[in-house]
Amino acid sequence: MAPGYYTPALMKPAPFDYHQARSVAEAVTHLGEYGYEAKVLAGGQSLVPAMNFRLARPAVLVDINPLDELDYLEEDGDTLRIGAMVRHVAFERPVTEGPTGRLLTMAAHHVGHLPIRIRGTFGGSLAHADPAAEWCVIALLLDAELSTRSPSGGRDIPAGGFFQTVFTTALEPEELLVEVRLPKLASHTRVGFQQFSRRAGDFALAMAAVAFESDDGRVANARIALGGVSDRPLRAGEAEQALEGQPATDESFRAAAEIAALEIDAIGDIHGSAGYRRDLVRALTRRALEQAIAA
């Protein structure tokens, strides 16, 4: 064996068993068999580093990388269907015309670094549920619907009920996320995406994604989603309501951003306190709204 290559038994992570799934059904069978002991390996851009630090110690890995059947992007009427194994890099160019594609592109450019975007997957990001992950915020903003498969069949979960807390979702241990459906924004929707991170490519300390219509100079169907500020991505519901019907002006945006900063349940870490996170939400929400109207 060439130097630098290890047999699967000899790795930086704690010992684990490895199964390569050849079909969704097989993957789900493994998950059903091992339950909590198993982890799904998609792009591996979060899971593998965590395993190398021995922070994550799954007894079994179920590798779904061979599943080409989960690597698709399809437009289905007013819905964009995204297979769980689509890589981040696919969204660097618009995958659909109009504001939905533009918004996805804006977010994609903030996802990690190029090697991470080449390996990491859309579905893996949602299932991992890092509160600062761009795709989690986008899924919440667009009211995505997530489809799963499990030994007992499968189900659909709305994004609003999917993210529970840090790295924790509504997924059951034997459930595999297979598809995400994004309802497309109306063609005249304005979108904005802003984030602040310590360095280029780092997880954001805070991010704001917004979408609204303003055909007559007044805001309609306002949506604001925030990431990196709490234990899960959040919608700023009060700020959305406050914006509804208001003139699309800097003053309204400033007021809505202030409400967003106050309504969230922010948490602190070594990179910034909860108060600092609120300050970021205030600035980024306002800037995202201004960006949307300026476009």
Binding site: F196, F203, S273, Y276
Partner: protein, 772 residues
Amino acid sequence: MIPWIGQPLPRFEDPPLLTGEGRFVADLTGDASFLRFVRSPVAHGRIVSIEAPEGITAFTAEDLREVRPIRPLLHRPDFRPIEQPVLASGKVRFVGEPVAVVVAGTPEEAEDAAEQVFVDIEPADRVVSAPEAIRPGAPAVHDHLEDNMVVDARFETERVDEVFSGAAVVVDFDLRSRRQNALPLEARGSVAAYDSRSGRTTLTASVQSPHVVRTVLADLLGMPESDLRVVVPDVGGAFGQKFCLAPEDVVTAWVARRLRTTVSWVEDRRENLMSSFHSRDHHYRVRGAFDADARLLAVDADLLCNIGAYSCYPVTCGVEPLMALAEFPGPYDFRTYRVRSRGVTTNTCPMAPYRGVSRPVITLAMERLMDLAAVRFRIEPSEVRRRNLISEFPYTSATGLVYDEGSYVESLDRAVEAVGLEDFRRSQAAARAQGRYLGIGLSVFSERTGYGTSAFAARSMDVTPGYETVDLAMDPSGNVEARLGASPHGQGLETTLAQLIGDRLGVEPARVRIVHGDTDRTPYGWGTFASRSLVIAGGAARLASDRLRAKLAAIASAELEAAPEDIVIMAGRATVAGTDAGIEVAELARLAYHSSHRLAAGMDPGLTATATYDPAGTFSNACHVATVEVDPETGGVRVDRFVVVEDAGRLINPMIVDGQLHGGVTQGIAGALYEEILYDREGNILTTSLMDFLPPTLAEVPIIEVHHLETISEATITGAKGLGEGGTIGAPAAVINAVADALLPLGVEIAEVPATPSRLRRLVSESERNPA
């Protein structure tokens, strides 16, 4: 390309490194067994028991009883020694301290085995920060030091209080520098091989000073140095972190001897961040007295350095507080100075010198003093500096350091011109009118480099480094080999020394091979650190080259029937000045070995020469300027421009000099804005991955514009001064002054680095709530 000195020759070191032919410790493990250290999960406590399951080979302090503890020493009354057992014995004193070691066939098996060793530790109260450690009644990290004080040094000139009370303006401020890790790309590691035939042990290690490692290994293991060989292969960055002794290297050598085999230790990134040396955890209180013309009259400074749980060998933990004490005045002319500088021990990872040692922080302090004075006097920061910089040489500082010729004022003027200060002030005003915050920051500093035995002796070190020796030999083919005790690891010394030697001996640098990093092959030396190698090893190379050149000239003069002083050696030929008569240098070399009967009576055959150089030291100087934009809503800082005007005397290879500055400035920007090791109150380290400890990437660092001045002083025989640390020393002050300048309208005072976004945002929002 003659002379070779001054040519931007591509580095001889680069082709193998850039084509994957580099050989680092982890490439050289061969069929070694692997070690993994079991490390303390608690900051302070008594070891109750250590148990390894059946079938796991593990060693603890109990097994290593015959190994002496590391005991770095200064012989001075204001220093109290502390000891470090190479594996924790009885007590643990920081999270990450090695407690036991396991041996297995592969690194992976060793890591799995280490997890199965059960260490029972009864936790004790701990101290994490320096102010906490000096509080009366604080837990003692070392039982014999109840007040945790390891160094308590004072210096005071006459009339300090009198000068302060008569001053027109007194500026005072606090400064806190957070803790950094030097973060070499290659973490630490070594391979130890016991040879049963000779009874010798070879340690192949990623270190900066092979001979010093050999000496201390011999001392601690109780064996003669001749039974040890230390080899340094390619080193992927060190920056000081690999200068001081790693206890793990001692354990690795001990295990190899105990098991009579080859064993290897390769640290991972988490271990490196947690357990390798840290640096720069300082708390300062500074006062400066100025006269009505903004001339600095006196400085009064209280410096408190957190030295971590143990002292580092050989320089000791006195290195940061004592350097801070002696060099605090920097490039400014004032005669009245009082300082107290303390080093206190805490339950944190030990400290060691990191590129710049104390000077990034003391330079930041002096440069903040200048900028705060500028605000008080309502004059340009450059003007305050101009009135206070030293300009007559040699200059003797308040603490007795002698500065050789430099270009302090010229570097400032040149930098101000290069950055376009007046234009910047105009765009700054225009930006402020639009609610944008731009700032400019200056940093003028001296960099003490190339200092020899006399300077280290002034610190009363038990082990006193300083000199370097070079053994030079020209072989019968006319090629040259230079063997040195300096141990370059990225500095490009193989190229620069070849240029220096090539010029003296009339051979192309490509025909000069530099041999280093092997105690069996090189004369005793001190390694590469403290911006010394080009000055000191370069000086020794120059002296040895002169001797060899004299012999070549003598042989040539006999062959060419001319006086030795008329012989010119250049471009591979020895010629008689003003004539066509000449002989190839290679021919002389062959003659010296193979026709020695033709040599003059009394002349030894062969072409070898040895020389030692041990200078008092020299000061480089520079001015850095940064321009930044601060986003007051997020606290984010973008460094827009970075200008360096550097004076390192004669440049041997300007491209290598620029590279040193680019890397150094980047590490300085890191210290100003990004990198920070954090502990919680229990002494748990919170920054053990590169998601938490944040070196800047290329995206965060602007193009670094470098300009050179070349003041040639008599302090070194090559005219070259050192500059390995200057980039890192000057950059934090330039960046922080620029950030402070940007936020000046908001009345914000920056008292802590790194100036992270959350810290800056807090300062801005405090000032929004309480407008000045």
